[in-house]
């Protein structure tokens, strides 16, 4: 029982950090461009398939394939920003619907390209660490470490670098930020592309653990949005914590409660937090 519980908590943490990295993209995009990019899940799917393609067909080692896969996803992100999202800045409903249209296009395109058959990548890192009778798969630990590091680095970059503070300034008052010399158009594009790159990175790591299918993005974006709200929109650390809470709740909840409802456990948290603390766990009070 203990082994099962710890195994599930670990699974929850891995899935939770994946939610967290998507949530970070959601939070950043929302803060800077005023829209929720529901297509981020699709960019995760694109990143995962690029990685799978490069590793299984290109014969590249996983660590090498990671970089071109993320770069490729970011390039797709740049393309969608210039063609679509540039025209929906600060228009929540239009942005939402454009990203939903994009989901249809990308998902059906992936079905045409790669078919609905689930794809499985060869193992990257096998074996597990034994820790007092509990086995921790090494790849899962590595994925958790990498994703948590990326989220923490983003947090550090936002609070320490000039660009990061420019982004904060822009989120608070666009006109004032513009007057202080922030290149706003470039900042907005940069944030959209960065959030798609984050999703692509999450997708690449996802490919090393789980099987891929074109519909995988839909679930992750919903969880990512929930995690972003749970942690508080606008807070990078909040998205990590929100993702972890969501992932662990689902994983542990499905041991004790009917697992068919695992997608609902997180939702109950989200509704409760919205009703009693609408700004989220880490969000600023208004």
């Amino acid at each position: 029982m203990m082994q099962l519980l710890i195994g599930q908590v670990l699974n929850g943490i891995i899935v939770g950090t994946l939610y967290g990295v998507i949530a970070l993209g959601v939070t950043l995009t929302f803060g800077i461009t005023g829209i929720v990019n529901f297509a981020l899940g699709e960019f995760m799917m694109i990143g995962a398939y690029f990685t799978w393609y490069l590793v299984d067909f290109g014969g590249l080692p996983f660590a090498v394939a990671l970089l071109p896969a993320v770069a490729g996803t970011a390039a797709c992100g740049f393309l969608t920003d210039q063609l679509l999202f540039r025209f929906t800045r600060n228009n929540l409903v239009n942005g939402l619907l454009v990203s939903i249209g994009l989901i249809s296009v990308v998902e059906a395109g992936a079905l045409l390209l790669w078919s609905a058959t689930p794809k499985e990548m060869s193992y990257v890192l096998t074996g597990s660490l034994q820790l007092g009778g509990i086995s921790l798969p090494r790849m899962k630990l590595l994925v958790f470490g990498l994703l948590a590091a990326v989220i923490l680095c983003t947090y550090a970059a936002l609070s320490r670098t000039w660009m990061g503070r420019a982004a904060y300034a822009f989120a608070q008052n666009p006109e004032a930020a513009m007057l202080m010399g922030v290149k706003t158009a470039r900042l907005q594009t940069g944030v959209v592309v960065y959030s798609t790159a984050l999703a692509g990175f999450g997708g690449s790591l996802y490919a090393s653990l789980y099987t891929l299918e074109p519909a995988m993005g839909g679930l992750y974006i919903l969880k990512g949005v929930e995690a972003a709200i749970l942690g508080g929109i606008g807070s990078p650390l909040g998205s990590l914590v929100g993702g972890l809470i969501l992932g662990v709740t689902e994983a542990v909840g499905s041991i004790y409660l009917p697992s068919a409802f695992r997608d609902a456990y997180g939702l109950i948290f989200v509704v409760a937090i919205l009703l009693y603390r609408p700004s989220g766990l880490f969000g600023a009070d208004k």
Partner: protein, 313 residues
């Protein structure tokens, strides 16, 4: 001008007499029924300004409750609509009171209603003894209507369903038009344009938002019942987020500022993929492209664009 306004309705009413293609009439039936859902959704979205993601859930709940009442209690379709309305009202009040009491707005309202919608879908999906889970239910009954002179008539066959769904759509439009032309509609508009100002002017925004949410959900549930009895099959995907998004796409494509706009959207999105012969994947891609291009190029929808163009010239 008054005559012109009625012309499309008359044209639709005589269409089956002129056109005998079952293929085209079937597309019309689907457009009418989905149009009912889209028109009612526009009441809460376009006219009251609340982006509800609960609409497909109401649609699906309507389908399930009507079928269950017919099959379990052996009552007619029309009697079964009463428990459907009652249950929809009860669920709308629970969801609506939670959302509006806590003053959830825009994005947050959308997310919480989406959460409730997912919850409803999961319940339907997993309540195997009642809903038969993923396998869905076969609906073999058909509604029976009584027509003066002709006696009772079972709604079966394309032409009968054409008129049945057409009347359903007209009733939905009529209810929306009556509501929107009364003081209720003006309160909805006040809430949409400026919620704080509406409250200052003494409008009970909580009550009117709830009313809008409730009427829209009832009409959607009725559309769901008609849809289920037409197709003869109910499955949990009726309540899915994708279904909600389809309805939103219809409203935006047609235009959210008029009552009939969503019907135009329903026709285009239901008809176009069938008119052009394409594989399933290409059809979804086309659907997505239509959605993206409409929003970027015609943000007021087809009807909105036509109206503003006519005013300009």
């Amino acid at each position: 001008m008054k005559v012109l306004r009625w012309l499309p309705w008359v044209a639709l009413a005589v269409l089956p007499l002129v056109l005998h293609s079952n293929f085209i009439l079937t597309i019309f039936i689907f457009s009418f029924i989905l149009g009912m859902a889209a028109v009612s959704f526009n009441l809460v979205f376009g006219f009251t300004g609340q982006l509800s993601m609960f609409h497909a859930a109401a649609f699906g709940i309507g389908a399930y409750v009507t079928y269950l009442a017919v099959s379990r209690w052996h009552v007619s379709f029309w009697i079964a609509l009463l428990p459907t309305i009652a249950i929809t009202v009860a669920i709308s009040i629970v969801v609506g009171v939670i959302c509006f009491k806590f003053k959830l707005k825009a994005f947050y309202f959308a997310v919480v209603t989406m959460a409730f919608s997912e919850l409803a879908r999961l319940i339907v999906l997993n309540w195997n003894s009642v809903t038969n889970g993923t396998l869905g239910l076969m609906v073999l009954d058909k509604p029976v209507v009584w027509i003066p002179g002709a006696g009772s008539l079972k709604i079966d066959g394309t032409t009968a369903w054409y008129y049945f769904s057409f009347i359903g759509l007209m009733m939905t439009v009529a209810v929306c038009a009556i509501v929107l032309r009364s003081w209720i509609g003006r309160c909805f508009a006040a809430i949409r344009l400026n919620e704080d100002l509406a409250q200052t002017l003494g409008i009970d925004i909580f009550r009117y938002k709830l009313l809008s949410f409730m009427i829209a959900n009832i009409l959607a549930a009725l559309a769901g019942s008609v849809y289920a009895f037409y197709i003869g099959y109910i499955e949990p995907s009726y309540l899915s987020i994708a279904q909600s998004l389809d309805i939103i796409a219809m409203v935006l494509l047609g235009g959210r500022s008029s009552i009939i706009g969503p019907i135009v959207g329903a026709f285009v999105l239901t008809g176009l993929p069938h008119v052009i012969e394409l594989s399933a994947e290409l059809r979804v891609i086309l659907y997505g492209l239509i959605l993206i291009l409409t929003i970027l190029l015609m943000p007021n929808g087809i009807v909105g664009t036509l109206v503003s163009r006519r005013r300009a010239t």
